[in-house]
Symmetry: C2
Subunit: 336 residues, 2 copies
Amino acid sequence: MILERYAIGVDLGGTNLRIATYKEDSSPNGMIADSIGLPTRVKDGPDAVADDMSGAIRKLLSKHGHGGFAGLGIGTPGPLDLPDGVLRNPPNLPGFDGYNLRRAVELRVGVPAIIESDANLAALAEFRLGSGKTYGAQSLCMLTLGTGVGNGIILDGKVWNGHNGMGGEAGHNTVDPEGEPCPCGSRGCLELYASATGLKRMAKDSRGSHANDSDESAILTARHIAESATAGDHAALAVFARVGTALGIGVGALVNTLNLPLYVIGGGMSASWDLFALQMMEELRMRSYVYRMNAPTEEESRVRSPRKTHVVRAELGSDAGILGACLLPLMQGRSG
Amino acid sequence: MILERYAIGVDLGGTNLRIATYKEDSSPNGMIADSIGLPTRVKDGPDAVADDMSGAIRKLLSKHGHGGFAGLGIGTPGPLDLPDGVLRNPPNLPGFDGYNLRRAVELRVGVPAIIESDANLAALAEFRLGSGKTYGAQSLCMLTLGTGVGNGIILDGKVWNGHNGMGGEAGHNTVDPEGEPCPCGSRGCLELYASATGLKRMAKDSRGSHANDSDESAILTARHIAESATAGDHAALAVFARVGTALGIGVGALVNTLNLPLYVIGGGMSASWDLFALQMMEELRMRSYVYRMNAPTEEESRVRSPRKTHVVRAELGSDAGILGACLLPLMQGRSG
């Protein structure tokens, strides 16, 4: 009997914490099993969160045993200082700056852990199990449009971490030099126009001072604005056009710089693909002559020509991050 | 007696054509020997240029012999379609679109050639013999500020070509979405503000309609504007400040995306480093929190701390392109 290998993955968010197992030989689309969901007790500090996380990991470990255990992968909001695995000022995890989450979990659980930013893990999962697989791409660049804009880059099959773990922060590339101020300290970052938070702000601005100022979450508001746009509301459509313009400028620079075969748009906002994609592609064509020279015809899109540059919607949904966390130790185990 | 290995390199520009030899064991800073300079006969068509180039290569080959010959490297203006080596719409070489320069030279000379874009070769030379060596960096990103803005990216010791040879075109990344129209079809590209051509245009704009409309070359004009700025001319200083702002935005996005240890500014315009560097670094600090988190202190700059992100002036001068062309076959020979 061959022992089935499995990995444990962790997805640490500012609100929710998920721990799950993933079996190497499960369905081609990547099946997560035994998912444990917990609230992230940010207010109780990083040690409390590490305690919760480690408790759930131990539970899964004792259930599935150490025999086929391939490793533990942890995804956290970036940026991370690698190879140490120290969190650096994560905006959604106040109080975690300088915290060595990897070591904290390793000490509690007694197994080695690999840590990586959630956007990089989403890109890795999309590369191995989603559009990367569909297109047979060796490299891709993914933008995850959620409350912020995450970015993960896979070059020649591996996550590009940069020299100390902070690569793939294109969500903070400038798309409008004189634009809105960003909490990162700059102005006019891509994230301010292509995230749920940005969508909420732009919709509020376009409705003027009579805006609905309720404290509903950006994600919920983004859904409402998408519904209005789908129903033909001009203001809502204009806001999504601005999302497309910002993405076209941002993706254009990534195409000019990296010339990859595949650019992937994921995250919750990508559900509204039909509301921004046309504008995004039009802007991209204008902004990037490298894209224009490599833009697929309709037929080349259909057959997924490997010589062309494809810009597509992510195939994996909200499980991409935790799937990537599980893939990380399985891939390391394979090459080691 | 050990036979000294040598390579032949070609630097094909829109105006000048240079062919030279380079000995592997020459001085640490990379000595070019036996340089042959010719005008580029663009008007006579690509075959005439290939004839001139091949004649000079044969001359050098017969002088130095086939014994120690390591190979032939050719640098051309980008973009190139790789691995075929076909030129794609090079703006400074009208009539060369679709021309397979590599094959044309191989047929004429009878030895295999490697072809690469000039900006990538400058980056490679800077990596092996210039600032990359000084800083012990494994990766770097270089912007070459000439009549345009070239870009070359070295990742883990190798030129990043992208999936079909068009990587490293960050000179056409947008730094001002509503900015000047660019011949590439976009608006507000970095190249429009950080090249000699851009400097000339901005200086003319700032002097209004009374501007000197002589047809002196952009390079010459850039030198005059630099002299005025050095002498304290406010308008000229303001133009260089705009160069710095554009570079800060452009480099900021490259730092956020790639997180490399080293960013290098080269090309003729980099002689005016003192006139734009302050503004560039200030803008970069504001634009990129990834840079701020990795910015070296004065002491860390002095000791070239490998954990930090350094933005520096290129060490090699105008020989960088042809040096890179020579290094290409020598590096291939080494790893092969």
